[in-house]
């Protein structure tokens, strides 16, 4: 691999550091703790640097960094909780999603949205952030998390529904009632 006149460190910095904000805000939302998110992002960058010789210039550096970040997060998560994530019957949940759509108030503060996001299980939260905030494709999200595309689709659908449900709690405060529900 020839990088021209720039040193590998310069190549790495110019390719990887522009994505720092995206990696950090994603880690902060998925982990729910800024200090821990900083540690994990730092570790992800260190691991990325160590394996930078395997990165092919011209390919998607952002997706590559996110994959490393989630590898670090999943590894750390296993250490923290020492327990398996709750596995839900996602096919059932997908069916459920089709039928019920709680209303969402139009006027929401960022704090309210983030508070609602934080209440959702991490496996839905991470898909929401990757697909809806970072705008990764289903295929990229699947590769990042190491799950099938079908799982991404069902988790995204379920995640959006859970987020709507959390936010609908605010609806009553705004005087919004769903059609068909008694006031």
């Amino acid at each position: 691999m020839i990088f021209g006149q720039r040193t590998p460190t310069e190549e790495f910095e110019s390719a990887a550091l522009p994505h720092l904000n995206d990696l950090y805000r994603t880690a902060a939302r998925v982990i729910g703790n800024r200090s821990e998110a900083e540690d994990l992002v730092q570790e992800a960058y260190l691991q990325a640097w160590k394996s930078f010789h395997r990165f092919e210039p011209g390919t998607n550096c952002r997706a590559w960094l996110f994959k490393i970040l989630f590898h670090v997060i999943q590894h750390q998560r296993r250490k923290w909780y020492k327990s398996k994530l709750v596995q839900e019957d996602e096919e059932m949940l997908l069916q459920d999603t089709v039928a019920y759509e709680p209303p969402v108030p139009q006027q929401l503060s960022d704090e309210e949205v983030l508070a609602a996001l934080e209440k959702i299980s991490v496996q839905y939260r991470e898909v929401l952030v990757l697909a809806d905030v970072q705008e990764f494709s289903y295929k990229e999200v699947a590769a990042t998390l190491g799950v099938p595309v079908g799982t991404v689709m069902s988790r995204l659908s379920r995640g959006r529904k859970l987020l709507r449900e959390e936010l609908s709690a605010f609806a009553e405060g705004y005087g919004i009632r769903e059609k068909g529900k008694s006031a």
Partner: protein, 289 residues
Amino acid sequence: MKVINFEDSRCRRIRSYLDSYLNNELMVETNHEVLTHFETCEACSRSLEDRARLKAQLKRAVMQEYAPVALRERIGRDLRRSRRFSINTLSFSIAAAAAVLVIAAVTLLTSTPTGKPLSLQAEVAPGDLTGKLLKIGFDDHVFCAIDHQLANKQFTPEQMSEKLGPEYAGLVALVKERMPRNYAVVVGHRCHYQRREFIHLIMRNQNDVVSLVITRKNGEAFPTDAVAAIAQAAGGPIYPAAWANQQVAGWETRDHLIFVVSNETKDTNLQIASTLALPVRDFLARLES
């Protein structure tokens, strides 16, 4: 949970597509079906608007956050630190008789810069041809063994043979025999840097990394009147240099430039170079004949 029953099964199907529609993940035909449905179904259109609004709200909220400056600085420190190898002076006795002559010659060397701030950039004065040639070996060592951390790899003998090819595979045993006993040959391969191909062997012990770097000449030769040559005992002159915490010793054959680069002390690096110089010269002479 109250479940809304959609009388229209078409609405039910369309709504099951809305999440994928929102992410632009639908097939063209399905996308068309959804768009057509929106023209006649206000409820499904509203449902889509609701989802799109929520998606936008979520994105806006999360994107408000930025990485702290301190995190950027921590990552920068990591990158700088990872480029350095610790300097640990290691004393060992060397078996080769040629070393005796080199040690004597080393005492004459007083101008090699050492103790500079750590930076793995080699600066060569204009007109310093010897320095320019030695920098070729230094650069490949830094690029490959340090920056790309090949020094942390452990190739099998079979991998080394395959990567070096039949011409150069014999170098591994030759070097292994002559390196200090606490060193292992961890990598033997061909690499490319700055449009040159290198035969590169990496030897390491617990703390130190030594590279044997060989490249075909591209019309270059060490200047015959070079005062920098410090040893004649190993079948020809050896030229030393030091940049940052790395020591370089180079010599040549008719068609090749050969370098030993390490984070060892100046004396030790020269001892290793002088031990390897003659057998490597003989090895390459067979290829050149």
